[in-house]
Symmetry: C2
Subunit: 426 residues, 2 copies
């Protein structure tokens, strides 16, 4: 086993400069099991962060499905195979409305890259609206949606960014005024896109705004914005890469909780428990428009092994009741976090749904000034105390608790007691 110092040096050379690593003192992981991961020194960490190993690190049912299919056949979709059809049929049964068909790909980025083109194909327009602190992936087209760095090659001029919702600091002071302000911004963005000649192909949102600190929004919050987009001829893309597959507890998909019906849904990360599989789902009408305009084929997309992995994930979500477990455990965790807030003034807000939990740290509860440096310090202290989590949100001051779904009450208790110690040590 190499030391962390050696590995960091080799990374710098082999992977290039500026490759982000978590924690001031990075963790060298060598093994994972359920909600636990182990480093090279045999130290055990409680994983409160990773959503990709959705049904738990190295879940035996998923591993077995991968092994069995990898030993049987792994090929592409230009031959017929039942695997992809059985999986897509099962996946489509989780949707309401007319989301009935899907393209399977390998990453959420690929899914969103297609979703943008589906919107273009069905509307004939190119303009797209996104929130201003979002992340939808890393392809050239999709990275245009990010605001953190101007994309290489420059912005295309066809994007309009609107202010992300912030339930802790609602524009206008109430939930209703907040929703109205969001709708007004979207309406103005539509007008601007039409005036620029790009027209409106649609809006893309993470229904739970996970990268933006998952604000607590009421069902219907997006109604006004959606009406504005539809009126302008655009479609609604729900990026379910983070909220999907039961994580939010109350519903299987984020858009159900948010109370709207998208035209296009993208998904990825948790879908194969770490196996590279993702998808974009839509109506037959939009799928037809895309398939007619573009002869899309993805060599690895929907291969029998990926479908077996994804199918096994659905099996486990069902057999272990992970969605309702996430709801219960999440509620229990938020209750405990709110109790911690009575003791620690730095906790300004506790929010989220199911196992997508945000703990916003502030320097002062009246000014709500983000405690970014403190959030960073807490994250690093927690790592030293054997609990892995991260921080995100608009001010990078929201502790993100988003563990594998088998996370239970004993794990919540450990997370809470460790957080108590770390907040005390600030």
């Amino acid at each position: 086993m190499s030391s962390n110092t050696e590995l960091l040096k080799r990374r710098e050379y082999l992977l290039g400069p500026n490759v982000h690593v978590f924690y001031d003192d990075p963790v060298q992981l060598v093994r994972g099991q359920g909600v636990w991961v182990y480093d090279a020194d045999g130290r055990k960490y409680l994983d409160c962060y990773n959503n990709v190993p959705h049904v738990g690190h190295c879940h035996p049912h998923v591993v077995e499905a991968i092994c069995k299919q990898a030993a049987t056949l792994n090929t592409h979709t230009r031959y017929l195979h039942e695997g992809i059809l059985n999986y897509v049929e099962r996946l489509m049964a989780t949707f309401q409305g007319n989301i009935t068909s899907a393209i399977m790909v390998c990453t959420g980025s690929e899914a969103n890259d297609i979703a943008l083109r589906m919107a273009q194909a069905v509307t004939g327009k190119t303009g797209i609206i996104a929130t201003n602190h979002t992340y939808h992936g890393n392809t050239a087209a999709v990275s245009q949606l990010s605001t953190t760095k101007p994309p290489i090659g420059g912005f295309g001029g066809h994007i309009r960014h609107v202010t992300a919702p912030d339930s802790y600091r609602p524009t206008g002071g109430s939930a209703e005024a907040h929703a109205k302000a969001f709708a007004t911004e979207v309406e103005l963005a539509c007008q601007s896109l039409i005036a620029s000649g790009h027209g409106v192909s649609g809006i893309i949102v993470c229904p739970s705004f996970v990268n933006e600190g998952f604000p607590d929004l009421h069902s219907g919050f997006l109604d006004g914005a959606i009406t504005a987009v539809r009126k302008a001829g655009g479609v609604i893309i729900a990026d379910e890469v983070q909220p999907g597959f039961g994580r939010i507890g109350s519903h299987f998909w984020g858009h159900e909780k948010a109370g709207f019906m998208p035209d296009i849904v993208t998904m990825g990360k948790p879908m194969g428990n770490g196996h590279p599989v993702a998808a974009v789902a839509t109506s037959l009408e939009i799928m037809g428009a895309f398939r007619n305009a573009f002869g899309y084929f993805n060599t690895f997309g929907g291969n029998p092994v990926s479908c077996a992995a994804a199918s096994a994930v659905l099996d486990v979500i069902e057999s272990e009741n992970l969605q309702s477990k996430a709801r219960e455990t999440g509620d229990y965790a938020r209750l405990g976090l709110k109790k911690l807030a009575e003791k620690h003034d730095i906790i300004g807000d506790v929010r989220g749904s199911g196992l997508a939990i945000g703990v916003e740290l502030v320097l002062d509860r009246s000014t709500k000034k983000p405690a970014k440096a403190e959030a960073d310090r807490v994250v690093n202290l927690m790592r030293q105390h054997g609990v892995l989590l991260g921080a995100n949100g608009i001010g990078y001051n929201v502790i993100k608790i988003r563990p594998p779904m088998p996370f239970g009450k004993p794990e919540v208790d450990l997370m809470l007691s460790t957080l108590d110690v770390c907040l005390q040590a600030l």
Copy 2:
């Protein structure tokens, strides 16, 4: 097991219209082993087509590596892990020049999408040159390089297409004149990109021009074109997704055979024997420019399971001497095909390198008119006779023989005798 009719109906509904399937009478594959695949009725087919199962369908060493690592840990690169470093180090050792670092991703499309941005980041320009019958992938940015259908959203104006080389119909009548004509076209494309304000970020080529019927080109054929691009300030991208990993027999990479040193190399399909893994490799200078301009992260890219799969593929290529086997078997196959050509006038040209073999069918050897319908008929007849292959090339009249690498002389003999029968039956 469902019937093909049922599966085709379900595909139409679940995957959408116009999803391409091979053969007039599609094949429902259920099992693969080495160079053989089996359909739902238990019928055995010789696989002369699939390059993704590079070291053979379901190779036990690769399957074992995947199973072992999937049961141990599968996580992302924001933690430290030796797997990616050991693999990238090993991969980099296959390159000459200053290709020393890599980004691991999931698909060749993702790799090429990055390669285009690397060229932009290091040159500050956006113009790119590609050949006019190529395919480099399916993202919005990369699909701009294809000429078959105008991309959704329209062409960006920053692409210049040059005529793909055709060794069977060389422009100017000789190899030297052909190379010169190609260089001149590239030079004009550079001038046009500079005049348009886009400038020249680079040229992207498959060094073996696989989609364009893999013409037989002499080492150095591209020298003039490369000089022109470099003079205009651009970089050279070699898309090794198809020729790479020893397939061409004489060399490990297509650009080595073509006799040039690229600045950026992309790879994918055969890299993980079907597991979704791909990469883009380049110098530290270009990597640095890209990493500084763009905070690239790929959730699944370089995960320990993908690295284990890719590493196992390299193990097998070495332990089973697959590169030299490809050279021998390929030479033997071309000899046999040339012998078949003495009997069947429709065979106009036999070419290729290693196990990337092209058999160009023509209606008339003097006019060299492409026999497209006949090529399609041969492909379908071969399928009926239990041999899977395809057709591509500029005129879609080149029988493409590109089997898994363990393909041996007995398999060549079976392929040749079946082809003889099918050509006879035309």
